[in-house]
């Protein structure tokens, strides 16, 4: 019968009863504190593999830590060098900004347009959606290897087609002027990921809105501008933020395809950071770069979040 009553004062467990009386008064184990047991694994992992390393990164960034030898405290010297004297830092930053500024909008437009098209009921709609999505799930390492070969000036398919129609060979990965664009193209190949998000968003728009607008005489273009796009702004915002955060941290393609070359034209931020840490063993310096990246990404996200109040419409 006592089981029907809500448990309010459970007896102390044997372990708790063994604690000194003062400690016991600080915290009584309540039956509902079982939740702590549930989150315990994550909490442990968070402390050991996230919190402490993050704090350590902040600390290392203030030193000349290079694993071997002695570590000297440098204060903000790393940051000063980064912003004041390191030309390659600015190169890496501008490369990354260019990459983000070009690939994200293009990816969004491509994904949006294709989502609109594939939202129309037609034969093979499901097949097209799947096929256009496939490149997005190809592992980035394999995709890079494939595209490196496609970009080959002699044996690669792209230049073979280009020269077959009479145009001069494009040196995709050898030409400092083209190399970033080549990597952007590689990234655009995977626009299907954004397309799927947009498709999900489009399906959330009530058909009645379109019907009502059509009855009122609104043409397709008007319906797009006044109904579709405003109601899609949450999805657009989502893809935009993810796209920006992802582009800032592009690594695999830069490392595998060109390793920063030619002439540092594809030296992206993450790659330069990696080289500083594991090639030049300047780990303190690399940690400073990592902190700067964190601040940049955070600032950008907050900026986007702030701007979203102006243009994102939550119905």
């Amino acid at each position: 019968m006592s089981q029907l009553l809500p448990r309010s004062q459970p007896p102390l467990s044997a372990g708790a009863a063994a604690l000194p009386h003062r400690v016991r008064r600080l915290w009584r184990w309540r039956g509902r504190d079982i939740g702590l047991v549930f989150i315990a694994p994550w909490l442990l992992a968070f402390l050991a593999f996230e919190l402490i390393p993050t704090v350590a990164a902040f600390y290392y960034s203030l030193t000349d830590f290079h694993v071997l030898g002695t570590t000297t405290f440098l204060g903000l010297a790393n940051y000063q060098q980064l912003f004041g004297q390191d030309q390659r830092f600015w190169t890496a930053l501008s490369n990354t900004l260019y990459y983000t500024a070009v690939s994200v909008p293009m990816g969004l437009v491509l994904a949006f347009v294709l989502a609109l098209i594939l939202n129309v009921r037609m034969r093979g709609q499901g097949l097209f959606r799947t096929l256009l999505y496939v490149p997005a799930i190809v592992p980035s390492v394999a995709a890079t290897i494939v595209w490196v070969w496609l970009f080959d000036p002699n044996a690669g398919l792209l230049d073979q087609v280009i020269t077959a129609v009479g145009l001069p060979t494009v040196h995709w990965l050898d030409d400092p002027g083209w190399s970033k664009n080549a990597l952007i193209l590689l990234n655009l190949w995977a626009f299907g990921g954004g397309m799927v998000i947009f498709l999900a968003g489009l399906q959330g728009i009530s058909q009645e809105l379109y019907e009502a607008a059509a009855i009122d005489g609104a043409g397709a273009w008007r319906r797009l501008l006044r109904i579709t796009i405003p109601l899609m702004t949450p999805s657009i915002f989502f893809n935009l933020v993810l796209g920006v955060i992802g582009s800032f941290q592009v690594f695999n393609s830069a490392y595998i395809a060109t390793h920063g070359g030619p002439l540092d034209s594809t030296l992206f931020y993450m790659l330069y950071l990696y080289d500083n840490a594991f090639t030049y063993l300047q780990m303190g310096y690399a940690c400073a770069m990592a902190i700067v990246l964190f601040v940049l990404v955070l600032a950008l996200t907050l900026l986007l979040q702030w701007s979203s109040r102006r243009w994102v419409f939550y119905s």
């Binding site: 990164a57 799930i137 998000i197 109601l231 990592a290 964190f294 939550y314």
Partner: protein, 286 residues
């Protein structure tokens, strides 16, 4: 979905759209088609113009020869260990933790959840170097441990977030009824919540597989010192680096790429029923 009525003008536009769509799809898939074709080609037929779509003869032996050239089996084993840890971590631990955040109460629960969310904002690379130093100190470098232990402990905030959101959607009455019947939270999680969460778990399983299968930075940092520990991603990269000069091995490189691509496609195909649901779970609708 907008239904088009088949008026003549519309039919013309629809046909044009169709052609453009087919063209785009072909262009998007040509890299993959070409890769498969090259993987089955004799060396003389790769990179010729016009390209042979179907090689003659079809060199199935490229794949078997590949295993003789580089330790693909070893790479696969290493990758599978890491993938398995990610999957167990996602499907068991993350679900366990997510239940804690969703359906139990404890001091600091909401604050800790905010902390969890904020970890998604922190780029991995910030922790990378201190983690390398830590693992070096405790002798975990060049072992499976750096890439399995955190996952098994449920470090993936994204998975926990996704599952927690889904669990919040499971009617409280179900859990309450079970509680009245004497079920403890563990039983509720295992017997009631988990079976109901199949769509979310499938989505999480697919995401985790893709993430672990394609992971490159972490393996190369933590395992890079020992070729026996290389994952498929590292193996593929290393193989490509050694083939830019010297003997032509493009067909083997493409074969290895195909081997890297196919499992992901299979997993995706298996989970795709739940996948679109999983995307919608993140609550994107305005």
């Amino acid at each position: 979905m907008i239904a088009w009525t088949a008026r003549p003008a519309r039919v013309g536009r629809l046909a044009l759209l169709y052609v453009a769509l087919v063209a785009l799809t072909l262009v998007m898939l040509i890299p993959l088609i070409w890769t498969v074709s090259a993987s089955l080609s004799p060396i003389g037929q790769i990179g010729v113009w016009p390209p042979h779509l179907i090689p003659s003869p079809i060199m199935w032996t490229n794949y078997s020869d590949l295993f003789g050239l580089i330790p693909v089996g070893r790479y696969l084993l290493n990758t599978m260990v890491i993938v398995s840890a990610a999957e167990v971590g996602a499907l068991v631990t993350c679900s366990f933790v997510a239940y804690g955040f969703a359906r139990t109460t404890f001091p600091g629960r909401d604050a800790l959840f905010l902390v969890l969310l904020s970890t998604m904002m922190m780029p991995f690379v910030v922790r990378l170097i201190p983690l390398y130093v830590l693992y070096r100190q405790i002798g975990w470098l060049s072992t499976y441990l750096p890439l399995t232990v955190p996952q098994l402990l449920g470090i993936s905030a994204f998975n926990i977030f996704l599952l927690r959101q889904f669990f919040l959607g499971i009617p409280q009455e179900l859990c309450d009824a079970a509680r009245i019947d004497g079920c403890g939270d563990f039983r509720i999680w295992w017997r009631i919540v988990t079976p109901l969460a199949k769509p979310a778990l499938a989505a999480v399983a697919v995401f985790s597989f893709q993430g672990a299968w394609d992971d490159f930075l972490a393996p190369i940092v933590f395992l890079g010192g020992n070729p026996d520990m290389y994952t498929l991603t590292i193996g593929l990269y290393m193989f490509r680096s050694t083939t830019t000069s010297g003997t032509p091995t493009t067909q083997y490189l493409m074969a290895l790429s195909v081997l890297m691509i196919i499992p992901v496609l299979v997993i995706f195909a298996l989970g795709q029923r739940y996948f679109i649901q999983g995307v919608a779970l993140t609550g994107l609708k305005g």
